[in-house]
């Protein structure tokens, strides 16, 4: 078992740096997509306990929309975009060029869901590309899956892997806030156990 709490400060900083660079790329991509100059670069990499994860994402019984995808390639893990329901809907409005409050439910139109998925795919790629350049690895996102439900129900999926070996885990990610809009979500990556070791190895090779 890896005791993840015993990362050195340097390793933790390096992992945070991955988050920072990825967050920067997400910010740039989102700005381009929305055609707006938006301030959304808030890196957020931290250790979280399994029992505190839902609270970190706004509370277990809050309704949110999420996109889940597996990461394959040299590094394996899972990624999730998660937006409180209202924020997710405003994001769709913004993408579709409609006034905020137009879309009432994410699955009311196929357009909403596909816009949401499209956004997630592009932003995930932005993050993963930055990471693969930095670490010199191939990382491939699997097709994304969308759901709107209780936060705890959505994150159960992320906890399956980590639950077999630890009580807490490292979440590498970023907050996503669009100023002037009620959009505040999170993007995060959980590496599989062996992949986290691989990431640390590569960080050591790169930065000594």
């Amino acid at each position: 078992m890896i005791d993840m709490i015993r990362l050195t400060e340097m390793e933790f900083d390096a992992l945070k740096e991955i988050g920072n660079i990825g967050a920067g790329h997400i910010a740039t991509s989102l700005s381009k997509m929305l055609g707006k100059d938006v301030e959304i670069n808030i890196p957020d990499t931290r250790f979280i306990g399994i029992d505190g994860f839902a609270d970190y994402l706004g509370g277990p019984e809050r309704i949110a929309s999420a996109i889940y995808l597996r990461i394959e390639g040299n590094l394996k893990g899972e990624a999730m975009f998660i937006f409180p329901e209202k924020g997710g809907l405003e994001l769709i409005d913004l993408m579709l060029g409609k006034p905020p409050g137009t879309t009432k439910s994410i699955d009311e139109t196929m357009l909403g869901e596909s816009a949401f998925t499209e956004l997630a795919t592009i932003l995930t790629s932005a993050f993963l590309n930055a990471m693969s350049r930095m670490l010199d690895v191939t990382i491939l996102p699997s097709p994304p899956h969308v759901a709107t439900d209780f936060v705890q129900s959505l994150v159960d999926m992320l906890l399956i892997e980590v639950g077999t070996y630890a009580d807490s885990f490292l979440s590498v990610g970023t907050k996503i806030e669009v100023s002037g809009y009620n959009i505040n979500g999170k993007f995060l990556i959980l590496f599989d156990r062996d992949s986290l070791l691989e990431v640390l190895d590569r960080l050591h090779d790169k930065f000594g």
Binding site: I50, F150, S153, L154, I160, G163
Partner: protein
Amino acid sequence: MTMRDKTELVVGIGKIGMSYGDTVLVSIGLGSCVGVALFDQVNKVFGMAHIMLPNSADSHLESPNMTILLSEHDTSTFNQLKDIYSKNEFSIAEEAHESFEAIRKYDSLTMGMVILSRYLPRLQGVETMKRIREKDRESRVILISPQSDRQSVKMLLDEGADEVLMDPFDERKVVEVTKSVIFHNQTRFADVALPILIYKMVNRGARIDLIRAKIAGGANIFSTMHPTDIGKIGDRNVLSVKAQLEKHRIRILAEDVGMNFGRTVRFDPDTLMLCIRTKNKEYSI
């Protein structure tokens, strides 16, 4: 009194919880997790497990150390317990016969597991437990109580004991109850959580043949996922829960499992109904 007015005990992800009928047991936002409500309505003992994973064979968690500190002044009681533990793969790392010896020897344990007589000379069991907890908040303590009635068990648990062993001892109960404390951080697995919950309920006065179950959860939230292992984790959780209940011959009176939506469940000990809330509806089974 309606359910809304009662105290609630929220059973967190991967945890178990119990009530004597004064508390509504709750599991919030079950996705692929399964909520299991167990109840013996005759003896008024109720339990809930919030199962996260099907099988501890998949576990890479550090396996718990089975060593304990046994503190008991009565030689015959001491020997009986020592006998049971040696026969069942536990090892007695340290022995103590009065409170200060127990507190002193606690420091040499690799895993903080202590068994204390309720009437340990000098400080008694409860006070000794409190002093040990001052040294180590994470310490696990089982108190030995002679011929306990349910009230005194409840009192000792309220004082903070993890479990209570009752003298005269039943070998199987001693083993299961001790294991339940040692394996407390592995209750995320169905095959660990349910035996532990069942024996904890029995230790609180339930009769195993009177226990019944209602279960909910085990959904596949991201319903477009391929039915790979990870996508089917909800189904696997449900299967494992059912296998455990069958093994202990506990009948399932109602179930609401699978599908693609999350569920918050509340078990009301007065009506024996499991109230289920989803993102857009509410119903009871």
